[in-house]
């Protein structure tokens, strides 16, 4: 069900054994590299490396297939949009013009443009497996602990973790309320005109907010009665101490960062030019 996608998947693997902090740091490093560089060689290496990590994690492709598909559709739309609005971007970047075949007006297909868009796609492919892995291999409570460890206040960390946790509950409430309002006659389908539909949506949102407020009052009372917010700090039951494997992993990732930064900016340009 939709409520359960992108949730923690329990497995025994080296990736799961890393602490949440390590994974968070590595994920941040990983996405910074992917954002900074357009160097095809680095992106290719990172992509292959991320597939290897994915295999080590023992997470099955079909467990994340739905989200993956969703992202791929977006990626495709993104590529089409780039071509639509900036079909000669590659020529501008690489400074040469190898025409593959002619098209109307500025939409002539060039090798440079294809190579540029290939690089953009590759950037996505480098980040996607890492992002998915981070989400499905990090226990939400450990995630809160990790945020806290890297300096985020524990109140905010806990709020984030609680919010993640209550998403399925709110989805369930939304469904119940929406059905009971439909029974009273509101129409949320396309048959109704848009302004009316927006007005109708309000009759679902208001009860949803009111009943969620009840829940919030209850949970905040429960937390306060058990001492949440008493001290400046708190400890975490699920926190795990750094182990050798964590330190090694972080060292590896920092080295990758340094190496790729060096290669990327070595010739004063973020793009690798094969032409």
């Amino acid at each position: 069900m939709a409520a359960e996608m992108l949730s923690y998947i329990e497995r025994q693997s080296p990736v799961h054994r890393l602490t949440g902090v390590t994974k968070l740091i590595c994920f941040i490093i990983w996405s910074s590299i992917a954002m900074l560089t357009y160097d095809t060689r680095i992106l290719l290496c990172l992509f292959l490396f991320s597939i290897v990590i994915f295999m080590i994690s023992k997470v099955k492709l079909k467990e994340v297939a739905f989200v993956l598909l969703f992202i791929l559709v977006f990626l495709l739309m993104n590529n089409l949009a780039i071509y639509l609005f900036s079909p000669q971007e590659g020529v501008k970047i690489y400074g040469t013009n190898h025409v593959l075949f002619e098209m109307a007006g500025r939409y002539t297909v060039t090798m440079e443009q294809l190579f540029y868009q290939f690089n953009v796609t590759l950037k996505y492919f480098t980040v996607i497996p890492a992002a998915l892995l981070f989400i499905v291999t990090t226990n939400p409570s450990e995630f809160a602990a990790s945020l806290n460890r890297i300096g985020v206040s524990y109140r905010i960390s806990y709020a984030v973790a609680l919010a993640l946790r209550y998403i399925p509950d709110i989805q369930r409430d939304f469904r119940t309320i929406s059905l009971s309002q439909q029974a009273r006659g509101i129409d949320m389908s396309r048959k109704e005109k848009l302004p009316k539909r927006i007005k109708n949506a309000a009759s679902i949102i208001i009860p949803l907010i009111l009943s969620s407020l009840d829940k919030i009052e209850m949970i905040s009372n429960a937390m306060e009665l058990r001492g949440f917010g008493k001290n400046k700090k708190r400890t975490w039951y699920r926190a795990r101490p750094f182990q050798k494997i964590d330190i090694i992993t972080i060292i590896i990732f920092v080295s990758i960062l340094l190496v790729s930064l060096y290669i990327t900016f070595h010739n004063g340009n973020r793009f690798y030019n094969p032409f």
């Binding site: 029974a183 009273r184 009840d214 209850m218 058990r226 001492g227 001290n231 400890t235 039951y237």
Partner: protein
């Protein structure tokens, strides 16, 4: 002399937003190791009294305090120091779970105390053993059964080595068997640890399943009685404060027995039935037998309904039944047995995988939610989930306005519905000014304007005290008399016995019984399979050596309803 742990002296409290004091001149002392029950109707101040003990009043809910309160010899300074002494178990375990897994939830208070992790592991292991949950430490709190949830929430407050355990309506939202189990669990824990236990609950008979030392009765912000259960049950105080007495006590009183504390009426096992046996038998012979309703036409039929939310996991198996026009039926069974799912299928919120649903002779299996709503109305348990307008009139009119009825017709129907629901004087009020029970009526009125022939209600009386319970149910009976067929989903065995002649019992997605409510509760096999609870009337009848115990129950109920209708 025992050490006092809670001491109220001339204590009064007024919420900032209210014009009158909620607690007035409270004088109450609770001693170490005592087990005390606080009862009272809604609005009597019993919950506020509980909030004073755990510190929510005045630290979270601000207001004006006069007089003094001492907890374990100190004046409470803030909510946190108090939470080391008083552990609070709130109603509805689902709402108070904070951790994702059992172990994390138990450890929550320790985390906030900055306890080093190794100590936390030891403490969690120790406490989880006390509540017998040591094998579930890594289980997700959502997957536990009702009884296990109770254990975990108890463990979560016991890690703090508190001296006082406070239970705020521990029985709300639990099915009858789980409620009974919760009371046994509280008793066990108290005997093992000898902590002071304070319970706030209005379901007196269920709490008395295990002994309590004292019962405090509250009404209108004051303590009106503070005595032992035996003394209290022999007095007329409960009746005056409209708190429901245990049914066996009520029956004995109807039969004309004079209750005295010596008869030990607090528990059915200790109750000296012999003294009033003759009177009970006499009374039984005198009271009329209720007349069964005449058969009418069939209005709703379900045939071999199968359904599952996810493929491969079936929630409803082969359920068939039919309901006649003008019936009042309850659907009972343990949490998660498929009761609510069944009601959603009837209203078209979900589509069955196979099977047909007929309204009279029409197959309505393919009708949309909107089409079905004009024939079958559904009232959700929580009125806040249904109310979307600010004014009562607009809320009730909503379903008609959206269906573009002419103005005059809308007005006519809305006023009629408001009148039936006893809301006419309030029709121009904002909904926020209403009590919970009144909001419930608004939601019923907003369904009634569509003039459905069947109304399904999910737990119509959950969380209501006896007075409101009677009000709501009498109102439903009146509706029923006007020809509306009523189906109720409920955990309340009294409600089922008293108001619905017929009960459909669900267990694990199957219909396991479809019989008169009295017979269902007399069958121990069904009672066990569906987490129900036998009624004390049945046992009373057995102990008084009556030949037809189920007849005794039926006559008691008919008589009791007559008394309440004329009396109030």
């Amino acid at each position: 002399m025992k050490k006092p742990v809670i001491q109220f002296k001339n204590y009064s409290f007024q919420y900032r937003s209210q014009t009158a004091a909620t607690l007035q001149e409270i004088n109450l002392t609770i001693y170490e190791g005592e087990k005390v029950l606080i009862v009272g109707p809604s609005g009597s101040g019993k919950s506020t009294l509980g909030h004073c003990i755990n510190g929510l009043v005045p630290f979270s809910y601000k207001g004006n305090v006069t007089g003094s309160l001492q907890i374990v010899g100190e004046n409470p300074k803030d909510i946190f120091s108090l939470s080391k002494k008083v552990g609070t178990v709130l109603q509805d375990p689902d709402g108070q779970f904070i951790g994702l897994t059992v172990a994390e939830d138990i450890a929550f208070a320790l985390e906030n105390d900055c306890t080093p992790q190794t100590q936390m592991f030891d403490k969690v292991a120790e406490v989880s053993k006390l509540v017998e949950m040591e094998n579930y430490l890594d289980a997700s709190t959502h997957q536990l059964s009702g009884g296990q949830k109770q254990r975990v929430s108890l463990a979560g407050v016991m890690v703090d080595d508190v001296e006082i355990l406070l239970f705020d309506e521990p029985l709300a939202n639990l099915d009858p068997a789980t409620g009974k189990y919760a009371i046994e669990l509280i008793d066990q824990i108290q005997q093992k640890t000898n902590k002071t236990v304070v319970m706030i609950e209005h379901r007196l008979e269920d709490v008395l399943h295990r002994p309590v030392d004292r019962i405090i009765v509250m009404d209108d912000g004051r303590i009106v009685s503070d005595t032992t259960p035996d003394e209290l049950l022999a007095s007329p105080i409960l009746e005056q404060c409209s708190i429901r007495e245990p049914l066996y006590v009520k029956a004995a009183k109807y039969a004309g027995c004079i209750m005295t504390p010596d008869m030990q009426p607090a528990h059915l096992d200790t109750f000296q039935v012999d003294a009033c046996k003759a009177k009970l038998v006499d009374w039984f012979a005198k009271v009329d037998r209720p007349q069964p309703k005449a058969k009418t036409e069939t209005i709703l039929t379900l045939t071999e309904i199968n359904f599952g939310y996810t493929p491969g996991r079936q929630t409803i198996h082969d359920v068939s039944f039919s309901i006649e026009k003008g019936e009042m039926v309850s659907i009972v069974g343990k949490n998660g047995a498929g009761k609510s799912t069944l009601s959603k299928l009837i209203c078209g919120f979900e589509k069955p995988n196979s099977g047909k649903i007929y309204f009279r002779a029409d197959d309505i299996s393919d009708d949309t939610i909107k089409e079905r709503a004009t024939r079958i109305g559904m009232v959700l348990q929580n009125p806040n989930q249904m109310i979307s307008k600010q004014m009562i009139y607009d809320e009730v009119a909503f379903g008609l306005v959206i269906r573009s009825f002419p103005e005059a017709e809308i007005k006519k129907r809305v006023l009629a519905a408001l009148k039936i629901c006893g809301l006419s004087p309030f029709r121009n009020w904002p909904i926020s000014a209403l009590s919970f029970g009144q909001k419930k009526r608004v939601t019923i009125a907003s369904i009634l304007v569509l003039e459905p022939e069947i109304i399904i209600l999910d737990e119509p009386t959950a969380g209501q005290d006896f007075r409101h319970y009677t009000d709501i149910m009498e109102f439903l009976v009146e509706l029923n008399r006007q020809g509306v067929t009523i189906i109720m989903i409920t955990h309340d065995m009294h409600l089922m016995l008293e108001y619905t002649p017929r009960a459909i019992v669900m267990a694990d997605g199957r219909k396991i019984a479809d019989d008169s409510a009295v017979d269902v509760l007399a069958d121990s096999r069904i009672v066990e399979a569906a987490n129900l609870k036998e009624t004390s009337l049945y046992e009373l009848a057995l102990r008084a050596e009556m030949e037809e115990p189920t007849q005794f129950i039926e006559r008691f109920i008919a008589y009791d309803q007559g008394v309440r209708k004329n009396g109030s």
